[in-house]
């Protein structure tokens, strides 16, 4: 139909003009609008009206009013209308009127085939038959099917290309398939899908990729466990009224017995409480009992082991007498016996030693430090000669122990003075690691280290009491009243009773700092105080502000002061100014002076002879003197520390055995036996003269003293 097509083209060409007519119409409307608002929009409305495209048709009003009808047809305007072909049949050129009007803008090959299409049907038939034959080979089937399908598709492809050529289009097989798809879609809507193998989708062989990969399959594991059946037991019994009655009677009897026991037990427990003071409650009884039993056995075993280990030393201690002394003249030696050392006190210095007055093998050791820059904790250990390897008791304290003293009547009470100024009483009967009594800042503790403590006789109310001396210049009496330590300042050491002139006329009283003291053996109120300035004050408990006497004894601090145990007027003092001096308290000048050419740490009278004393010096030596034998030199000066630079700090005589213990700065205590030459007196004393002993001793010392005394002083005695 060429003429129709031509018409349409014409109409299409006329399109634009029609559009312009529309525009003009619009302009007309604008003009009307201009009339409505003449004042505001004159400029732009006129400007608009004036511009016209040059090819615009000038149309009359009628023409503008005219309706133009346009119809859209499916005809392609670019397809030539006037193609002619020679017809051999009619022998003439004829117009080809049936032109294809389809324009293809976009093609996309689908990846699925419709199941109702030829290809789809073929595939589905093939796959279904294969599935019926061998369902196991299903995996292979699609591959085969696809292989076959490709062949068929090729054939179909050829067909479709032929169709396309026939239609005069060079678009290839794609178009044909596209058409096929369209058809298939339509068919699908109408027909329900076949029942067989509904899941399977039919793939377009030319636009379809199947990908697959195999992964490792985790192997399965089976685990089983058979549990033990719950354990069963059999139980058999006969019961009748008689049994029940008997059982109840028995039980009642038992209960009554238990009641009686319970009544008896608390009383017994209380008794135990009173006896030991350790058992705190009835519940604790069995545990404590078993522990103490074991502890006792362990202690025995430990001692037996020690007995074996230190057998030779024990033999020496008991029987060995140095035979070579006979050839040494007056000189003597010290035989080292046990050494006492404890792991926890290796870095602490021995600051105090004291033998227990009741148990002659037991002694207490205080540990602390004399270096005021290195103050730390302190320890209090009690050793027995029977067990040199481990302390019998051990107490640790926050502050260093500076001094200690056993109570003479209650040997379980131990008074201790600390570096921080506190004093405390340890009760060895109590298992507690804490002191039984302890002073505090509230209860008048010293403000500076306590240098010495000494028990006194019980006061009139039978309360135990002790004295302490400290660098703060106070001498305090402490009394045990029930559960308290009651303090009382006995005396304040004012240095020369002088006052320092402080700023703004303030009167500052300087206090002497006491470092040691000792009470007279017989005269209760009399005591001596050694001070840091080197003076020794003779004081009385009754005068708290005055001294009975002052000795200008030393140039440096008095380290130790001690009354002679026999002669009531004689005392000994030692000092860091290298000297040991022996005094008569009625005479202001020393009777004997010994220069040991190094600072003297401690001095102690022997308990068996009035003329024997021992001193330790900071060079690690122990010196033993017997005035009766040699008034000028020590009988024995012996190095007792093993390491150089180690200082000996304290010395104490055992009250019974001829041994001394010496403590040093490294926490080591050495026990030394005096050789026969150093203790000639006690040998003589043995036998009949025991009673006369003290008088003999006094006479002996008196004889010596009279040699050095000035004739004038004799009157004073």
């Amino acid at each position: 139909m060429p003429p129709k097509a031509a018409d349409k083209r014409r109409q299409g060409q006329g399109g634009p003009s029609g559009g312009k007519a529309g525009k003009a119409g619009k302009a007309g409307h604008k003009k009307k609008a201009e009339n409505d608002f003449p004042e505001t929009g004159e400029d732009w409305s006129t400007g608009r009206a004036a511009i016209k495209s040059p090819d615009q048709l000038d149309l009359t009003e009628n023409e503008l009013e005219k309706e133009v009808i346009r119809t859209l047809t499916a005809n392609n305007p670019h397809i030539p209308q006037n193609i002619v072909r020679f017809s051999f049949k009619e022998r003439a050129y004829k117009l080809v009127d049936n032109m294809d009007q389809t324009a293809i803008h976009f093609t996309l090959n689908g990846y699925l085939i419709h199941k109702d299409s030829d290809e789809g049907r073929r595939q589905s038939i093939r796959s279904s038959t294969e599935a019926e034959e061998t369902p196991v080979e299903e995996e292979k089937a699609p591959v085969e099917a696809s292989a076959e399908a490709t062949e068929e598709a090729e054939t179909k492809d050829e067909e479709s290309t032929e169709d396309a050529e026939a239609a005069g289009e060079g678009e290839g097989g794609g178009e044909g398939e596209g058409e096929g798809e369209q058809e298939a879609e339509a068919a699908e809507a109408e027909e329900p899908p076949p029942l067989k193998a509904p899941e399977r989708k039919l793939a377009n062989q030319f636009n379809f990729i199947e990908r697959g990969s195999t992964t490792y399959r985790n192997p399965l594991r089976e685990k089983g466990l058979q549990t033990d059946p719950a354990p069963f037991e059999t139980f058999s019994e006969n019961v009748n009224q008689w049994f029940i009655y008997d059982a109840y009677m028995e039980e009642l009897e038992r209960m009554e017995k238990a009641k009686e026991k319970e009544k008896a037990k608390p009383v017994a427990a209380k008794k135990d409480d009173n006896k030991t003071g350790r058992r705190l409650s009835y519940v604790e009884l069995p545990q404590v009992d078993s522990l103490t039993k074991v502890a006792k056995a362990a202690k025995i075993a430990e001692r037996m082991v020690n007995l074996n280990t230190y057998d030779d030393i024990a033999q020496d201690f008991k029987y060995f007498e140095d035979a070579s002394d006979e050839f040494r003249g007056q000189k003597g030696t010290l035989l080292p016996l046990w050494k006492f050392q404890y792991e926890k006190t290796k870095k602490l210095a021995v600051t105090a030693l004291s033998w227990n007055p009741k148990y002659k093998d037991l002694f207490a050791v205080g540990y602390g430090s004399y270096d005021f820059m290195k103050q730390g904790h302190g320890m209090l250990l009690l050793y027995t000669l029977k067990n040199p390897s481990f302390p019998e008791y051990s107490f640790s304290s926050e502050s260093g122990v500076m001094c200690l003293d056993f109570h003479s009547d209650h040997p379980h009470l131990l008074a201790v003075g600390f570096y921080d100024g506190n004093v405390a009483i340890y009760n060895l009967k109590k298992a507690s690691s804490q002191p039984s009594y302890r002073s505090s800042a509230k209860s008048g503790k010293h403000t500076e280290p306590v240098w010495q403590v000494k028990w006194q006789k019980d006061d009139m109310d039978n309360n135990s009491n002790f004295f302490s001396v400290s660098s703060d210049g106070r001498i305090v009496s402490w009394t045990l009243v029930k559960n308290e330590l009651v303090h009382m300042d006995v005396i304040k050491l004012s240095a020369d009773e002088t006052t320092m002139q402080g700023p703004e006329g303030l009167q500052l009283q300087t206090l002497g700092s006491g470092t040691s003291f000792d009470f007279h053996k017989k005269i209760d109120y009399l005591f001596l105080v050694g001070t840091e300035e080197g003076k020794i004050y003779k004081c009385s408990k009754t005068y708290s502000s005055q001294f009975l006497d002052v000795f200008e004894a030393h140039h440096m601090a008095v380290d130790s002061i001690s009354w002679n145990p026999f002669h009531l007027k004689v005392f000994i003092s030692c000092s860091s100014d290298w000297t040991v001096k022996i005094w008569d308290h009625t005479i202001k000048t020393p009777l004997f002076v010994y220069d040991l050419s190094t600072a003297v740490g401690d001095v102690a009278w022997s308990p068996y002879s009035s003329t024997v004393f021992a001193a330790v010096t900071t060079d690690g030596q122990a010196h033993v003197f017997d005035l009766n034998i040699n008034k000028l030199e020590p009988l024995c000066s012996q190095l007792v520390v093993t390491k150089k630079k180690n200082k000996t700090t304290h010395v104490q005589f055992n009250p019974v055995y001829p041994i001394i213990i010496v403590g040093d700065e490294r926490g080591l205590i050495t026990c030394l036996k005096l050789s026969p030459n150093l203790r000639k007196m006690p040998k003589e004393k043995k036998g009949q003269e025991v009673k006369k002993g003290p008088e003999v001793e006094i006479a002996k010392l008196e004889k010596l003293l009279s040699l050095v005394r000035e004739p004038g002083s004799k009157e004073e005695q």
């Binding site: 719950a230 354990p231 069963f232 037991e233 059999t234 139980f235 058999s236 019994e237 006969n238 019961v239 009748n240 009224q241 049994f243 029940i244 009655y245 059982a247 109840y248 039980e251 009642l252």
Partner: protein
């Protein structure tokens, strides 16, 4: 007459004295034993005249509390030989005349 009076008095005394529960044999843990014992006491006091219902009550309560299957025998005289799960047996007397045996065996 005096004799009978005395007897009565004795019986009253006996009842009064023997009212407490008396565990004869048990391998239960402490807590469970006490709980079971209290349960038995409660049940026997509640059903003082009917041992059957007391036994039923104990059994059901024990089943609930400790899982099935519990068995209970209550009586004044009986003999038994049972197989029970370990730690699940209580044999006690109560009230002077009752024996209660509770055990588990599933």
């Amino acid at each position: 007459m005096e004799e009978t009076e005395e007897e009565k008095k004795d019986e009253a005394d006996y009842k009064r004295l023997h009212s407490f529960p008396l565990i004869r044999h048990s391998d239960m843990p402490e807590e469970m034993r006490i709980e079971t014992m209290e349960l038995c006491v409660t049940a026997c006091e509640k059903h003082a005249t009917n041992n059957e219902s007391a036994a039923k009550m104990i059994k059901e309560t024990m089943d609930k509390k400790f899982g099935s299957s519990w068995h209970v025998v209550i009586g004044e005289g009986f003999g038994f030989e049972i197989t029970h799960e370990v730690k699940n047996l209580l044999y006690m007397f109560f009230g002077g005349s009752l024996a209660v045996c509770v055990w588990k065996c599933s």
